[in-house]
Symmetry: D2
Subunit: 348 residues, 4 copies
Amino acid sequence: MKNLANVAILGASGYTGAELVRLLSRHPGVRIGALTADRKAGEKYGDVFPHLAGLDLPGLVTIDDLNWDQHDLIFCCLPHGTTQEVIASIPRNKKVVDLSADFRLRDLAAYEKWYGHPHRAVDLQDEAVFGLTELYRDEIAAARLVACPGCYPTSALLPLVPLVEQKVISTGNIVIDSKSGVSGAGRALKEGSLFSEVSEAIHAYGVANHRHVAEIDQELGRAAGAPVIASFTPHLIPMNRGMLSTIYVELVPGKSAEDIHATLSGRYGEGEQFVRILPMGEVPATRHVRGTNHALIGVVADRRPGRAIIVSVIDNLVKGASGQMVQNMNLMLGFEETAGLMQEALFP
Amino acid sequence: MKNLANVAILGASGYTGAELVRLLSRHPGVRIGALTADRKAGEKYGDVFPHLAGLDLPGLVTIDDLNWDQHDLIFCCLPHGTTQEVIASIPRNKKVVDLSADFRLRDLAAYEKWYGHPHRAVDLQDEAVFGLTELYRDEIAAARLVACPGCYPTSALLPLVPLVEQKVISTGNIVIDSKSGVSGAGRALKEGSLFSEVSEAIHAYGVANHRHVAEIDQELGRAAGAPVIASFTPHLIPMNRGMLSTIYVELVPGKSAEDIHATLSGRYGEGEQFVRILPMGEVPATRHVRGTNHALIGVVADRRPGRAIIVSVIDNLVKGASGQMVQNMNLMLGFEETAGLMQEALFP
Amino acid sequence: MKNLANVAILGASGYTGAELVRLLSRHPGVRIGALTADRKAGEKYGDVFPHLAGLDLPGLVTIDDLNWDQHDLIFCCLPHGTTQEVIASIPRNKKVVDLSADFRLRDLAAYEKWYGHPHRAVDLQDEAVFGLTELYRDEIAAARLVACPGCYPTSALLPLVPLVEQKVISTGNIVIDSKSGVSGAGRALKEGSLFSEVSEAIHAYGVANHRHVAEIDQELGRAAGAPVIASFTPHLIPMNRGMLSTIYVELVPGKSAEDIHATLSGRYGEGEQFVRILPMGEVPATRHVRGTNHALIGVVADRRPGRAIIVSVIDNLVKGASGQMVQNMNLMLGFEETAGLMQEALFP
Amino acid sequence: MKNLANVAILGASGYTGAELVRLLSRHPGVRIGALTADRKAGEKYGDVFPHLAGLDLPGLVTIDDLNWDQHDLIFCCLPHGTTQEVIASIPRNKKVVDLSADFRLRDLAAYEKWYGHPHRAVDLQDEAVFGLTELYRDEIAAARLVACPGCYPTSALLPLVPLVEQKVISTGNIVIDSKSGVSGAGRALKEGSLFSEVSEAIHAYGVANHRHVAEIDQELGRAAGAPVIASFTPHLIPMNRGMLSTIYVELVPGKSAEDIHATLSGRYGEGEQFVRILPMGEVPATRHVRGTNHALIGVVADRRPGRAIIVSVIDNLVKGASGQMVQNMNLMLGFEETAGLMQEALFP
């Protein structure tokens, strides 16, 4: 056992923590050394998540109970806001993969605007690498602190960044209409997450105002070399897992929907294990990635000349959260990038 | 009983037929005189739809079995294509409310392009009135043949037509992203309608190519006085009923999102029983109209200057189909427009 | 308006309160005079339940704000335990329809055993009538205080009581396996009611230990004239509404499954509007009663000689809760028993 | 590659076929050599099941196209009835794992009674081993033809057989109330499998008359050494995967519910990887086994003296079908019994 990397998961009592445990339980090079959950400290993990009761796991403890020396890498699934202070307290020789929004935004003013308070760990923010693996692979491999993007940005940026970088689409007219499963809201007790409030229905929320758009603007702006503002609307869908983004784009004059397809196919070609571009004109469904780290992207020419529609799907808990965390850990610790992540989708 | 209007329902074995029966069963002025379903002729209606077994209804017969003289008005829920020939055979002194696409398009070339064959009842097409009640109320009241719109056009045109008419929004940059419950696909046996293919998932279909967009273009073009091409993408949601359209619009210079709100509030004011404009900045959910003939519309200013986002919800089987049919019948036969339609939503 | 009965609903911010409002909004003889919800006092009802925002309703107030004189009848949808003290404070000349468990059990010892404390309004308990309408119609019509049964007892007792009374089945071997939609758990914030904890899954709960069995035992014992203990297991089903009980019974020697069918058909014959016995050998589905006050019951002979299987369905929020409350109110105030309750099921 | 066992899957276009492919794709010792589907022959497998499009798989062919010599073991997922003739045509030196009902019943008269025609491969029926792995492990390891049980019998027999064998429970009063996800109905086009017919509802079917009870009676009778007739009712639940059986049993005089728990804990102890007995008084949920080959069993003492309630859950497509097929293949080909089957459940 001594050759296994020892990881700790902070905030392990939520769905993304449980998903990390599920994925890591079959990882050939990793051992879960500690699981924290402040309010449930003292409980067995299998009592909090009975679907994982068959695993040999440590019990839940508080963060204060941890001995950082024992761990090679820390996964952080804590709420926004508290994360920055916890991560600031981790010794600097420990690698960290964070899922909160605390270190995603490079612009301190943008952080303060969207999250309502000044950043409390400015030096760490400088150091953090944006953890969308396919876009920042080399930086992630060399990073100490990786800030994994939100699920919405992951689904939108994978197709959009290459198109903006290569100037295939206009940056002034991007519409991202996203649909998410309910697990994205986590296990917290909110009226809006109750079965009877969600099932047999759909609604939009955070219209024109969802925090994730700050990450989208940031990365599109970086790809464009100039500020970008995207239209973005998230919707809640009566399903556990899955995220689909329908993206409406305007082509740069002279470019066609086929150019979009070619650009994405070139960008995500043979080397990419987790991003797949469907044949021109075909679109994916979320059920085709359920439980996997895959992103599927389809491109269709719009009826309106000079425009195209892109459809992108991921599992919000895997490529949109815990799977991408493991993918990043693999790079940071020198494992195969796909280690622990090669499952087929669970359908039906 | 002799003062009740006698109606027949053609194609009564589908979901829209059953929904007509549900609504008409409590209508104070109407009696269901005949129900047809060619393949199920001879069966009791309560065997085909046990949830309606408690009603005193005629058995299913074939269309050939009908005696048109007995009926004051014919509801037609037949498939596209066959409808035009059946309606051509109905005596011209009988009123008809049709739910198929056969008489919705005024342009014969558009019909042929989208439906793949020349129209077979051209004179009737001239006479048909587009049955979006709030937009064509007077024409419907005077019509013999009303062609009710599809559910997607109903959800999109209710907010968009007044905005185009009043030149509040640009006609060159309209994006309609729609989400529908599965009942919209009907009771036909299709692999894509199986529970295991639909539940716990979402996908887009007919991207940039769905037939309903022909109706949307037609009515927006009429409102604009010039051709309009809209971007439109329908999605299938794992729920029985409900339709939500998220509409991204560009404002005419000098106009604001508040102007959109004011225009819609003015257009659908006190007199309108079934369309309700939410307070500025609020958006509706489909569960709020489940089982009702209501349309709820919300308006939000987009982050991108000069743009707004509109969210519109209906129950696809009621305002998007059978409820609007009854609403039109009420106008055509001189009943209160709301007769038989005043139920509150079923939630949860 | 002065001829309408004025009713108040205590605890109107839960699902059963909203369902009462939905049903009463179309009742020809009733006006909703007050709605209470302690923690949401001061809010508009349409903000708490947007699906009812189109109704003209009083705002939410606290119970202390009520003037009992203004109301003819009080609907009580408060939690178990607090109910008895609130009802004790209502003037004795006001009629009360209660949905809590507080007044269902006649035996004080049974109450204390199942609910963990001595009863606090013993005199009222003596007076209360068990509100299963079809079994206690005359008593309810004359009652001041009616204690409506739980949804599980309603679904089980409707078929079982006549069979025990008429000695068609043995009382020593009754198994009731019940399945309920999630709305039965109410709108309270519980981890077990979250969408992701419930959807795509089924589990049993309160096995051999659910409080509702006390009511079942009580009424079966009364029908038998001797103590009865039934086996009872409730299950949670990923659906909003609906309850199905599968009941396994042993026939008294000489009796057959057909005798069960004949007994139930005789008991719930022409006069009963809301209970329907299916043809021998057929079984009902919950979708056939969605949104209605109906109970459907089917009877099948078991493969094991001398045994039968009975399947009973209701909508847990209507016949299992608010619909039965209205049905009882109709009797207590002299309305038609079916007033406000004649809707067809919403399917799909 | 030459050391991998080469398997063929007959009837690969259904859900159980796809599930076999999913499980075998990660099996370290097996290669999928052929996939058949008569009506879809010529199609790519990834077009029929896009969630598996990332795998390198052979295209679909007809059974006539197969060269049996190339395969070491044949998985058969064909419909009941046709299976026996196909299997009769397979060379006798090839091992076969069958999922149909054709070879499950040892009694030819029982087969004819339940399936409506005389058996057409009587000699094979003699040879077939009943494929409930935990009960017939040694026979399966030595078998050429294994007839895997249905999902309902798997969930019921795992707890019941040891209790009958050890005379802990009476064989005269067993009630099995089972609940299944919709995927058990397969991908065939049936009105009853449509989303709108299944979602938001529950119903029983095949009451007292479902074919699977023949297997249950057979195996319970064998365990008892005398004929057993069980009461059995299956129900359809609006979920894709999962099966829960609630089993009501009468204890042999002198035995207690704790004896049931001890007997099952002894029978399924350390050595069993896939069956887990929960602590006394706890019951499992289907979400805890979603996507896995596990069976979880809970035991509760009933309120009625001398009786107990057992709750058993499996994933109907894994332990109830394809997972058990792989488990049996592992025994027949000498692999670790758990090879390819060690995934944690997908929750939420």
